[in-house]
């Protein structure tokens, strides 16, 4: 295959029999990771933005760390934590006989850990930009902190939160380094788009690589298009 110019192969019969599992897997893993990020990222951001406590700066730095560290380093730490003999993983293995390593769940963990700092950063900025006076007003009107969070803070920080989620989703979709460390590259199981592209290039399947790249680019553009549409529908 190599000796022919690969552009000519683009519309060959291989395309019909293409394996879409990397795309489905990637979207699924990124979606699950984004849901986890939405909950814990927003919560952490709220605590960092509104609470004053001992160790706040430390928590802030710690949650930023995966953004600075090379993903393989993050992946290595995850192995130490979650591996069969890992700090947490060994207890799970002893209790259930199951290890998260080299499963799609491990890919979710990797994507979550690598992408959550982006959400925390933008959600924190979004929550800080909500005038605290609104929350105080809600308190004097009898609303508890949790009610105030859902009725006032969340709607007012909405734009920033959505932006943070989009970026996190995109980051999760592109996750490579940490994923290959903890989830491997098992076709149909943990081989997400970036990993499949890497494998395709490695094994000289240029046609497949090109198709996967185009697909991933199209998905990314579609996400950006849809989300800009959504965030334009504010009434006030």
């Amino acid at each position: 295959m190599r000796d022919r110019p690969y552009c000519a192969d683009m519309v060959s019969s291989d395309v019909d029999s293409m394996d879409y599992s990397p795309l489905v897997l990637s979207l699924w893993i990124s979606l699950v990771a984004t849901i986890i990020i939405a909950v814990f990222g927003t919560l952490t951001a709220y605590v960092l933005a509104r609470k004053r406590f001992f160790g706040r700066t430390l928590l802030d730095a710690f949650t930023t760390l995966p953004m600075i560290l090379p993903p393989t380093v993050t992946g290595y730490y995850l192995i130490i934590l979650l591996g069969k003999n890992g700090i947490i993983g060994n207890h799970i293995y002893n209790l259930t006989g199951w290890s998260i390593m080299f499963t799609w769940q491990a890919a979710v963990v990797a994507a979550t850990v690598v992408a959550i700092p982006i959400m925390i950063k933008s959600a924190k900025a979004a929550i800080e930009s909500v005038d605290i006076e609104y929350e105080k007003a809600a308190f004097t009107l009898g609303k508890s902190e949790i009610q105030t969070f859902f009725l006032v803070t969340l709607p007012l920080a909405k734009r920033g939160l959505i932006a943070g989620l989009i970026l996190s989703f995109a980051r999760a979709l592109g996750e490579f380094g940490a994923t290959i460390m903890v989830a491997g590259n098992i076709p149909g199981k943990t081989s997400t788009m970036p990993l499949a592209i890497y494998s395709a290039v490695q094994s000289g399947e240029d046609q497949l690589a090109t198709m996967l790249v185009i697909l991933l680019t199209a998905v990314s553009i579609a996400i950006i298009y849809i989300t800009t549409k959504i965030s334009k529908t504010d009434r006030y």
Partner: protein, 372 residues
Amino acid sequence: MELQVSICKKLTNRTSNEFILDAEFECRNEMIVLFGPSGAGKTLTLDCIAGLEHPDAGCIKVNSTVYFDSEKNIDISPQKRRVGYLFQNYALFPHLTVEENILFGMSSGKDSKELERMLDIFEIHGLEKRYPSQLSGGQRQRVALARALITKPQILLLDEPFSSIDHITRVRLRRDLKKIREMIEIPIVLITHNPVEAYTMADTLVVYRHGGIEQIGTPKEIFARPKSRNVARLVGMNNIFKGKVLEIREDGVVIQGREKITAPAVQDLKIGEEVIWGIRPDHVMVLREDRSIGKAVEENIFSGRINEIVSKGATYLLFTEGDLDLEIEMPSHVFERLCLEQGRTIRVSLKKSAIHIIREFPKDRNIPGDLL
């Protein structure tokens, strides 16, 4: 007393500037006005009453409910205090409509009858479906008042309601507040730094200085008899002089400063004591040269040259230099009749009864220099 406040709170910020608020006052179901320069701790006092800030020590009581008591370890949450709070920028929720804003504090959901009543009182019918960004400043303020009052609060707190609104809205707000006072019997605490609003609105006036209270009393009392130079400046008693008691007579005291003046008698004054005396600019009388001086004003006559004339619309301000450097305020029609102009020398009379002696004790507590 329906409202009792006695609090102490220390604030430290990063620039190591320490701010200590130490405030104590009480009032009935009336309008109490906290008046003073910005940064004095007035809003902090309101936040403490509302439960948004926590005093280090002290006690806050509203209608026999203890909101805060450091000794008994009581600190009711803001949610349970039932305080109506009008924030300085109103803090209307921008993502909710007027109706949703007003009903926000109602636990029972939509109460159409109460909503209608509020819309009636504040004349904001037809705005229910609008968002705060689609309202004028005055409308926003009335919506915020409706939102605060619909929950039937125990006390109403108003943070600078008169600032940043135009004149017509201000007149209307004065009317609305009067209406509220007739409607509900609760203490109303209002913050202002405008002496005119302080004078016209207050039943009790609490004058703040940096971190504490300088004087409490009726507006009339405070404007005529400020206790310190600080208060005198705040209420517009701009002519302030130093002097020594020279003579004590039955009908008054003679004070020697740059000039000799006669002031009303004050108890326990000693000869030789250093005092400060002052007179409001509008109490200085300019004498007409074509008429003889009446008996009542024959004391304390000084002359001076007009240095500057400032028109304030309804009144004129004259600044003179001479025996005493004075600020004089007079109605425009008087100014025009007297044909005054810059550079002319005029004679003025400081009516004895208008002179106020301030007996300030030398232990001036940390008052910033620019207020003196």
